[in-house]
Amino acid sequence: MKLEADKYTVEYIRKTRMITFKGVLRLQNKEEYRNISELLSQAASETTGLPLILDMRELVFLNSSGISSLSMFILKMRKLDKEIHIHGNSSIPWQTKSLKNFQKLYSKVDITFPSDS
């Protein structure tokens, strides 16, 4: 399942339990993030046993409405008691500064910056 627009793509591959975000996500409000939220919800419902992986390494910008929408998804995963692994990019400032907020919402969010390892 893939959502594509001029500035971004979000792709969910069920087999690898991975959702990959690329580009610039600066949509107007949470309502505009609805399609992405629905994709995330589908992935959440289909993932059992192993963690769902969010690959953010090529997501250059995410505005606060996007962080808010993803936070809603984190709360949903908390309710379902399912783990999340986030792959970040340490050269993208919003990721080093703001990804940790998801861990404040849910302790079963694991964040790694693969380029550092």
């Binding site: 600066r26 949509l27 606060s64 809603m72 919003w94 703001s98 919402l105």
Partner: protein, 176 residues
């Protein structure tokens, strides 16, 4: 006499200014052309980013500036009134002031949000806003929290009346 309500950090907007520019725009159709907010942010970031000796300067400026312009557009009272932007570079600081009109009915709410920013534990405020916002698809309300909490941006809000319009000037100082 103008009545001002000032909330936030002390920022000297005129100290040691090395370069500056200003612009104004009418947010007439910007909700239908939302990418223009990003275009303004990226332009400011590219223009100012090269002044700083840090590879991520442009990205950080764009991220912060985009939140401020989004807020100005969303909160503005009247789309026929311009949003004014002033940007300055001073030593290792990036400063900006964005001034827009705000509707009467939301002024007190906005003032209350600003006061919370300076009287709360911001990590707790973030979690509280997210958990409270689960049912509200329009509003996010966490942009200013993130700027202060994650980017340590000094922020000041000046609410005042100008020619019968309620306005707010949001001034920020970011050390790069």
């Amino acid at each position: 006499m103008e009545k001002h309500t000032v909330i936030g950090d002390r920022i000297d907007f005129n100290k040691d200014v090395e370069t500056t520019f200003s612009m104004s725009f009418l947010p007439l159709d910007i909700f239908d052309n939302w990418d223009r907010v990003s275009s303004i942010s990226d332009f400011v970031a590219e223009y100012f980013g090269t002044y700083y000796n840090k590879i991520t300067a442009s990205n950080i400026i764009s991220t912060i500036f985009n939140e401020l312009v989004e807020n100005a557009v969303k909160f503005t009272k009247n789309n026929s009134q311009p949003i004014h932007i002033v940007v300055k570079k001073s030593n290792n600081s990036f400063l900006s002031r964005i001034t827009n009109t705000i509707p009467n009915h939301s002024k007190d709410t906005f003032i209350s949000i600003c006061r919370d920013l300076f009287s709360s534990n911001l990590d707790e405020l973030f979690v509280k806003k997210i958990e409270a916002g689960a049912m509200d698809n329009k509003k996010s309300g966490i942009g200013l929290i993130l700027l202060k909490k994650d980017y340590q941006v000094d922020t000041s809000f000046d609410f005042f009346e100008d020619n019968k319009f309620n306005k707010v000037a949001v001034t920020i100082k970011l050390t790069i």
